[in-house]
């Protein structure tokens, strides 16, 4: 602070304190911010009043929108092991480099036979609308059921726990697609799962 005695009054305001506060608040928000990952399939989840939190690990997420189903499982090791087993089942082998790249993908929606192309693409190309047509789930080619079953086996082997399943559906999604997914889960005797929703109050 200027200790010069002046005849006029100083119009300067000392902003050091405000600057300090600003940076403290900024640091707080940077620490608490979690970056939102861009998704290949935009899903607009409906809202509910329920406030239970989703588990952070051992979770398989099924995203249902536009009649397509995408799947993703937490944990890089789990992803690599699941990819290997799926590859064995459908006769596709993956190099360790491809496996490593796959373990970084959060969710995908392609036939296992097109997986190599998907892994080879760059992240922006994968996220573009329409690149990924969804995992097939018709009775002749039920890869979704296999993915879920294999992920559950892998989780059982690795952690001795059952994989939790979360369903992230778009509000406008027609019920038949959701029903197909629920039937697949029911056939595997997985009867309780989480539905991902936004939050709202009871006044609706």
């Amino acid at each position: 602070m200027a200790k010069i005695k002046m005849a006029k009054k100083s119009t300067k305001v000392d902003m050091t304190a405000m600057c300090d506060m600003a940076f403290l608040l900024l640091s707080f928000f940077i620490m608490t911010a979690t970056a939102k990952v861009p998704e290949a399939l935009p899903v607009d989840t409906p809202a509910s009043t329920n406030q239970t939190k989703l588990p952070e690990e051992n979770l398989g997420t099924l995203s249902i929108a536009q009649g397509k189903v995408f799947y993703g499982v937490t944990g890089r090791e789990e992803r690599i092991k699941a990819l290997e087993k799926m590859g064995d089942k459908y006769g596709v082998t993956f190099t360790s480099d491809e496996q490593k790249k796959f373990s970084l993908i959060d969710g995908f929606g392609v036939d296992i036979r097109q997986m190599k192309q998907l892994i080879a693409m760059k992240n922006e190309d994968r996220m573009r609308e329409g690149t990924q047509p969804g995992i097939p789930l018709d009775s002749t080619n039920n890869q979704l059921a296999d993915w879920i079953k294999i992920s559950r086996e892998v989780t059982k082997d690795m952690h001795n726990k059952d994989l939790d399943i979360a369903i992230k559906g778009d509000s406008k999604e027609e019920y038949p697609t959701v029903k197909k997914v629920l039937d697949i889960l029911q056939k595997q005797n997985k009867n309780n799962f989480f539905l991902v929703t936004g939050l709202r109050s009871e006044d609706f």
């Binding site: 300067k12 600057c19 928000f29 509910s48 329920n50 027609e174 309780n192 539905l195 609706f204």
Partner: protein, 190 residues
């Protein structure tokens, strides 16, 4: 604004309005404070936007291969058939015979189906109390029958209603042709 006295003599032009001949260099921090607040605002907004994703609605053990056990008396059931246009049809009782109450069209939410569920639940609970039956075991059973024309939001809404009205026994069952006829006659099967 805040002044930083760097301490090196002379050289720098005074940043403040007062240009004194004495070497009292100051750095004007207005710009930095501005930027700091902009960044804060940005981070406040991005963190509040990412929160909603973590809420979820847990479905209980929905053993869907059990239909309404035949022992459930008709007066303890309420069937909700979900149709198109965010509407649903409700009726009390069984389909293999005239329903006890309804069918009537309703909408989701507080103004719609919630009052009905609460009143039916109260009716069943009152009757149970009068007969001395166990409220938990003989409480109301709600049967949900989503149709092909309903959407996922309707399904989540109705499950939310179950949670809000604290109905413990409910099950999702396949829709029957009679229910579809009910929807069609009320023009909500489009």
């Amino acid at each position: 604004m805040a002044e930083l006295n760097t301490g090196d003599g002379g050289g720098k032009k005074g940043g403040g309005k007062v240009r004194s001949k004495k070497s009292n260099p100051g750095v004007d921090l207005t710009a930095m404070v501005d930027l700091a607040f902009l960044l804060i605002t940005f981070f406040i907004l991005t963190t509040t936007l990412s929160k909603p994703q973590s809420m979820n609605l847990a479905l209980p053990d929905e053993n869907k291969d059990t239909e309404t056990p035949p022992e459930t008396p008709a007066w303890r059931t309420l069937t909700l058939v979900l149709g198109s246009d965010d509407k649903l049809v409700w009726y009390s009782g069984r389909t293999d015979g005239p329903p006890l109450d309804g069918p009537a069209v309703s909408t989701y939410g507080k103004a719609g189906i919630r009052d009905l569920i609460l009143s039916k639940k109260k009716g069943v609970d009152d009757r149970n109390k009068a007969e001395g039956a166990d409220l938990e075991k003989s409480g109301i059973t709600i049967i949900l029958k989503p149709s092909e024309k309903s959407n996922y939001k309707n399904f989540v809404d109705i499950l939310d209603e179950m949670a809000i009205t604290k109905v413990k026994k409910y099950a999702t069952v396949d829709i029957t042709p009679e229910d579809i006829k009910m929807l069609e006659s009320n023009n909500i099967y489009n």
